[in-house]
Symmetry: C2
Subunit: 251 residues, 2 copies
DNA sequence: AGATTGGCGATTGTCAACAATCCGCTTGAC
DNA sequence: GTCAAGCGGATTGTTGACAATCGCCAATCT
């Protein structure tokens, strides 16, 4: 309803648009974790040159949605329980910080925006449609982050959110109690509006605790019964080895 | 002393190495904020093709060390007091989280590594050489992050640290009281070793508070006397507009 | 005089050919 | 039978040429 004015021509570079398409495919589950990706095939499918597609893949790699093994291949990461633990602990921290800042620096506009987002969640729950609830849930959290005006926090949260979505899509962890959704979010919103930064932070952080514990429990379970495979090492850590400490020396 | 074995040939792709060189140039202050960068000139200087250099620039852009204005130019960002506030608030949060996790999941190895890093800081202070102290200071914080084993936290902190270095280099904010350095870090290290996660987190977060307040005060000062320029907007926020919420719809 | 339009130079965006690298397999020796 | 060396195919890395776009400046019109 509000998109009528913003569909101009899309002058953005081709690789950004290609990255958008791939992001959507990954986040929608069209591409499955572990799947190998070849540049030539994807480039042909999207009808762009290999160089352009390459730039798009690099973007996604920086966002953590894809992995690169140099000289060898591209691959969608397989998100383990350990990854889930990392994602949710980080998310809890960022959302806690966002709630804290939001409560501290709230303005009239912020309160209005936040209230509206919360109302949409309530409406979604009333509709009993899980997809809409999930969307409104994410939107509410995103709103809390957005009203802080902390651009780097917003960017960080955006990247993390994408990975969380990627994880959710491939772990059928969508089960949620519709009746609890509202009562779980309401205190956070109230604390922010009331300006109680410490309480808002504590609540927002606690909001992620169940998922953190579930992931931790699943990890412990794996230790006991390593039936599937030895621990899967993501190549993420090898992408940029030792580069920051050396830079200091030149200063 | 330990680099003898790791200088093999460096088979990493050329664009990664080019990115390393540029990173070092930026972090060492060789390139100044606001400076324009043209692909052709830099490519010629580094003796790589434009496409390769382009990939390197894109990497740095993702790391926040450089900005791109599509179809127009590349530019080194000018870090305002607002940026400093963002950097140090985020850093405080990440370091707080790291200290918390480090205290929780500490092992024998962790304690040894941490103690060694702290000892190096003490030695550096004793030498009265500011550069060495600054290096050891950063290294200690990095160690706290590293021993958490939280790969995503480590990556995030690394990116943030680079931007902090970039800021420090261009804001002559290196003044520090050598006598306070040790007494400021010791409680944090002790709390981690003692396993007091809550205390460690609180101390680590408080450690960044002075810089946060300084930046906030400077921002307030700007508001009163906008002698220089109207607020500088980084183009960072415009790089990737509205892309995540839409992706949800497809799910 | 002021505003608008068109062209010009510089810079970035895109592409397709060429080179370098890796993985799996065969081949051969011991 | 086992292991190592080497070959072949597939895939990524790199490059230079070509196309698209932008900002600026001058010429033109009102």
């Amino acid at each position: 309803m509000k998109s009528a004015r913003s569909v101009k021509v899309d002058r953005r570079p081709l690789d950004w648009r290609a990255a958008d398409v791939l992001r959507e495919q990954i986040l929608s589950g069209k591409l499955v974790p572990g799947q190998r990706i070849t540049e030539a095939a994807l480039a042909a499918q999207l009808e762009v040159s290999r160089g352009t597609l390459r730039a798009a893949l690099r973007s996604l790699a920086h966002e953590g949605l894809i992995e690169q093994v140099a000289y060898t291949k591209w691959r969608l990461p397989e998100l383990s329980n350990g990854d889930a633990w990392e994602l949710y602990t980080l998310r809890g921290m960022l959302e806690g910080m966002a709630a804290h800042l939001a409560a501290q620096h709230r303005t009239q506009d912020c309160v209005v925006t936040l209230t509206a987002a919360f109302e949409r969640l309530v409406t979604a729950v009333a509709s009993r449609r899980h997809a809409r609830v999930a969307e409104a849930d994410l939107a509410l959290h995103k709103t809390i982050v957005a009203i802080t005006g902390h651009q780097r926090l917003i960017d960080q949260y955006h990247l993390l959110e994408q990975q969380v979505c990627h994880y959710i899509v491939h772990s059928n962890a969508l089960i949620m109690d519709l009746n609890q959704i509202v009562s779980e979010h309401e205190p956070i919103v109230r604390a922010i509006i009331a300006g109680d930064a410490v309480k808002a932070e504590r609540l927002a952080r606690a909001h992620n605790a169940p998922e953190v514990e579930r992931a931790a429990a699943a990890m412990a379970q794996e230790q006991v019964e390593p039936a599937t495979e030895p621990p899967i090492r993501t190549t993420r850590s090898k992408q940029r080895p030792k580069a920051a400490t050396r830079a200091r020396k030149a200063a």
